[in-house]
């Protein structure tokens, strides 16, 4: 961050590192809305006791705003995981300097991140849409309200 110079032995300031620096800022700005509103919604607006299997399946992912929330959750999933994983990569480079250990820990991080992205996408895409609603008609209904 701005106040302390990062000492990094891996990842020279090449194009990828510059892109990753910008990505942290852009995804951070997106998460400011996505993650903060998600938390505030669950705790203050809905209340955590509202969270049940039926509520998520019928109201959040199939209600009038079903398609909106599925898209929202997908964006949150991708931004939060990629931002968090890239941040963890920086932290690993800061503390783990041995070549082998650095590579091993980062490889584990990448594999875990990929698995989590697939699990997160799988549930968003496979929880059935109710009735004969197609994705398109749900979107039209949502926009029509």
């Amino acid at each position: 961050m701005a106040l302390k110079t990062r000492t990094r032995s891996y990842g020279s300031p090449n194009r990828f590192e510059v892109a990753s620096w910008y990505f942290m800022r852009v995804s951070g700005a997106a998460l400011l809305v996505l993650a903060v509103f998600h938390l505030f919604y669950m705790h203050v607006i809905a209340g955590v006791d509202a969270i049940t299997f039926e509520w998520i399946v019928n109201e959040r992912w199939n209600g009038p705003l079903g398609m909106f929330w599925r898209t929202y959750d997908l964006a949150l999933l991708l931004f939060a995981l990629l931002h968090g994983a890239n941040g963890a990569r920086w932290v690993i480079d800061d503390y783990i300097h041995g070549r082998g250990a650095n590579l091993a820990v980062k490889s584990a991080l990448y594999v875990l991140t990929a698995i989590l992205i697939l699990m997160g996408m799988q549930v968003i895409f496979t929880v059935p849409l109710h009735s004969q609603q197609t994705a398109l008609s749900a979107l039209v209904t949502a926009l029509g309200r």
């Binding site: 961050m1 106040l3 993650a35 505030f40 203050v44 969270i51 939060a80 989590l116 549930v123």
Partner: protein
């Protein structure tokens, strides 16, 4: 291994002022949120597996000890979010934001905003334990 411990220890004991605490808390909160997110993706994934198994997991969420962890998560996310904005401002407009007086002021603003978001969320989170109910909740 020893060098890892040494550099983490240096990060904790380095004697800076607000800036150093801001940095350390940003790092710890970011890693903590990532850890929670991994668990969270597994629990939401269970919706696709079946109602029984998902609700068994939910039980854990509603337990009092878990709510203590949730308090940490709420504080961590709000802090990391507002402090992240501070970092972005300093990085993109250094001539405007990087002098130490502005920095110190901004750090205090970050703490105030964090508390403003945290307090209502924390109250709402423990309310069910005391049978309290917000008027707009319909469950």
């Amino acid at each position: 291994m020893a060098s890892i411990v040494a550099s983490i220890w240096e990060g904790i004991t380095y004697r800076g002022r607000e800036g150093h605490w801001a940095w350390l808390l940003h790092r710890v909160s970011g890693l903590g949120i990532l850890l929670f997110l991994a668990l969270h993706i597994v629990d939401i994934y269970l919706i696709g597996v079946g109602k029984e198994i998902f609700e068994a997991f939910l039980f854990f969420y509603h337990s009092a000890p878990f709510k203590v962890l949730v308090m940490g998560l709420l504080f961590g996310v709000y802090y990391h979010a507002f402090n992240g904005v501070r970092i972005i401002l300093v990085d993109f407009w250094p001539e405007r934001f990087s002098n130490w007086k502005t920095q110190r002021l901004m750090f205090r603003v970050v703490i105030v905003l964090t508390l403003l978001a945290f307090i209502p969320s924390a109250i709402a989170t423990v309310a069910p334990l005391f049978n309290l109910h917000m008027p707009w909740w319909n469950h």
